[in-house]
């Protein structure tokens, strides 16, 4: 069966350090992968999209990698700040690109 796995344990990290989150998937062959941020009581906010032919994508302090051989994406927040504290979701398209499947999300807590 198809699965998207993100670490269920919250990541506690000291301000200024790099936070790294993992998204693993099985039985998918996505053409791209998206990362979203979600704050409590709010809808997800799109952050980055990376395509299968891109190894790495950057946006400000965010960096995403995509390894289609390992079936894994890594999401990095460099120089983390308390305002980065949120839940981060990875999402993949499937079934003819009409459906977006989300992982459970991984909570990040940046400690001042």
């Amino acid at each position: 069966s198809q699965k998207i796995e993100q670490n269920s344990e919250a990541l506690n990290i000291q301000e200024g350090k790099t936070a790294t989150l993992t998204c693993n998937y099985t039985n998918y062959s996505p053409a791209y992968l998206q990362w979203y941020r979600q704050d409590p009581g709010r809808g997800p906010v799109f952050l980055l999209l990376i395509r299968e032919n891109e190894k790495e994508k950057r946006k400000e302090r965010l960096k995403v990698t995509f390894d289609t051989t390992l079936k894994q994406s890594l999401f990095h927040i460099t120089a983390s700040q308390p305002a980065d504290s949120a839940t981060y979701l990875c999402a993949l398209p499937f079934y003819g690109n009409n459906r977006l499947a989300f992982g459970k999300g991984n909570q990040v807590v940046v400690i001042p």
Partner: protein, 115 residues
């Protein structure tokens, strides 16, 4: 600027009742999506509209769920004979066109509680 809005923000109902949840997408966005999110889970796809038509409703869990988008803008998700298991946050998202390589803009959600 105006984003995606959803009303009501909270809805408490009793088992067996009928509810309607409304989504106002970003003006001009042709694609509209409904998702359901339970506590500790990611959003789960329900239905996708391209314009007025439901291009993909395969995520609707059963025939108690129905959604419409009669004029290609506002959408309403309708749930008949609500059950306690329907309790969740219902999220709406829109994008400027279909295809999931396009950024989806999410609303704040409607928290539905079925007692």
């Amino acid at each position: 600027g105006a984003g995606v809005s959803q009303t009501p923000s909270n809805k408490v109902t009793e088992k067996g009742k009928y509810v309607e949840l409304r989504c106002d997408p970003i003006s001009g966005h042709t694609a509209l999506y409904w998702y359901r999110q339970s506590l500790g889970q990611g959003p789960e796809f329900l239905i996708y509209f391209q314009g007025t038509g439901a291009a993909d409703d395969s995520g609707l869990p059963n025939d108690r769920f129905f959604a419409v988008r009669p004029e290609g803008s506002v959408s309403t998700l309708k749930i008949q004979r609500t059950e306690r298991g329907d309790s969740a946050v219902y999220l709406c998202a829109s994008s400027s066109r279909g295809g999931l390589s396009n950024e989806q803009f999410f609303g704040p959600g409607t928290r539905l509680t079925v007692l």
